[in-house]
Chain length 332, copies 2
Amino acid sequence: MPELRKDPVLDRWVIISTERGKRPSDFLEKTEEIRDAVSPFSPGNEEMTPPEVYAVRPSGTAPNTEDWTLRVVPNKYPALEIKGDLNRRGEGLYDMMNGVGAHEVIIETPEKDKDLGELSVDQIKDVLLAYKNRILALKKDARLKYVMIYKNKGYSAGATLRHSHSQLIAMPIIPKRIGEELQGAQEYFDLKERCIYCDIIRQETKDNIRIIHEEDQFIAISPFASRFPFETWILPRKHVSHFEEIETVETENLAIILKTILRKINIALQFPSYNIVFHTAPLQMAMSKSYHWHIALMPKLTRIAGFEWGTGFYINPTSPEEAAKYLKEIAI
Amino acid sequence: MPELRKDPVLDRWVIISTERGKRPSDFLEKTEEIRDAVSPFSPGNEEMTPPEVYAVRPSGTAPNTEDWTLRVVPNKYPALEIKGDLNRRGEGLYDMMNGVGAHEVIIETPEKDKDLGELSVDQIKDVLLAYKNRILALKKDARLKYVMIYKNKGYSAGATLRHSHSQLIAMPIIPKRIGEELQGAQEYFDLKERCIYCDIIRQETKDNIRIIHEEDQFIAISPFASRFPFETWILPRKHVSHFEEIETVETENLAIILKTILRKINIALQFPSYNIVFHTAPLQMAMSKSYHWHIALMPKLTRIAGFEWGTGFYINPTSPEEAAKYLKEIAI
């Protein structure tokens, strides 16, 4: 059973996946290649993954047969496990609990060589609906406090398989970073009685120097304090705290802007490795006036060094204004 | 002039080094090679670096001549610049200031192919004394609030030069991560009237399952909530908040334990890339009963993916108990 351990000074939780139990020799065979001879995510290889928990497939076809266009399956090597209770406990000044949670893989397309940005708007919409539906399903489990949706594309962004997929981890705690966002947004709200993200959208629209692309319901910007070159945020114009509240009609507009941004990034940076992270309110939290869900996309262009680890702050060699100007001008 | 920008939600500062001004094409030529044909840090190449600000060299030799055993020079491509005033200002809801500070390189040895762990105890002691003396010098500048000492070894840990060196960034703010450590330690102190790090040393000594190595004045452990496989902390047994208070006699014992740990890591993991970060109290803060300086050493074995970026928490595939046992048993 994986273990969740809390740093006693920082209140930061770490997953110790003791069952993977990597010894030094496991780290020595470093290959920078991503396995892709046989994709366990390809149609026909359904038996190579745990049974699907969600799929987009023609009605009448049986689960785990090959006629799907999207599948969600439990991760074969889960960081957290769905069975068992939390068993919160201490050991002297240390706190820990069982690594209870869910770890799922969203296989975005049957085609193993396409990037998410190369899928059709309808396919991307299906991916977004899969996220929404899985969150709604997991929300019923009262042990789970947060669902993190993320995508690692390419070796240097942490992917181990080339076939386009994203992941979801449902966890029994609210991660520190999200807790800080919630708190920062709440403090701003207490002071101004306005959502800080709504104010950011307002100021960015007025300044018009960090906007990359606009759609009816969404806006894409280079954030003012970007940590990474070409970091991009996508925010809904409408104030909503929880991503899973997205309406089907809005997923189409979100699919359009996400595809647009990915195409611009793929053109500008020649299909870089990247990470996408969804920032959304905790599962069991009521609708919030201060928090505003959004998506962060980070091309992996720089290496993170000791300085960043030690201080938690970042050196970014490309200003967000330059990044936005560049991406904005790219015709797609 | 580089710019310091504050994330309006998280109070996290980012350095935007606008003068480096990297455009997309600058990121495309990715070479995984570290330049080392000609080392700008080798004796005889002193003119390839800015003039030294500190050196260990035979008395009577002129600065920037080649008879040195250690040099400290300003970074040729500094993230922060020493001249100018902070000019704190706002732009709507955003806050920023000039990137005032110092960025220096500690060239640890004249020999370009040796790892820090391969230097003699006396050489490592000189490196530690250089850190101390540079902090004491920079402490006189009232604009500077924090000095971060760190080392990036190897390409995947962020190094751009092979020749063994560490770096120092003196900055006009206290980084968020350090602020959180100070606060966490203070909260524990308020509750218990004891230093949490002293309590950690006490518990680790009693439990004896995460100790890697002990010396008279220092202890090396795998921290309970290790973020990374084989992450190692070195703590002084004596409660001191500021590294720069270290006495010369203690630097010898610290050099011994640091060399021991590096040799064990280099044997176990075959000279991996790694980062070292010094955690110490802010320059202008009075001696503190709650904070306790320490060193974190992180071999770079795993890739950091979207999940970690998004949540600020980490999945570690090797338990600290296994890591400590393994490293402890390695004979050096």
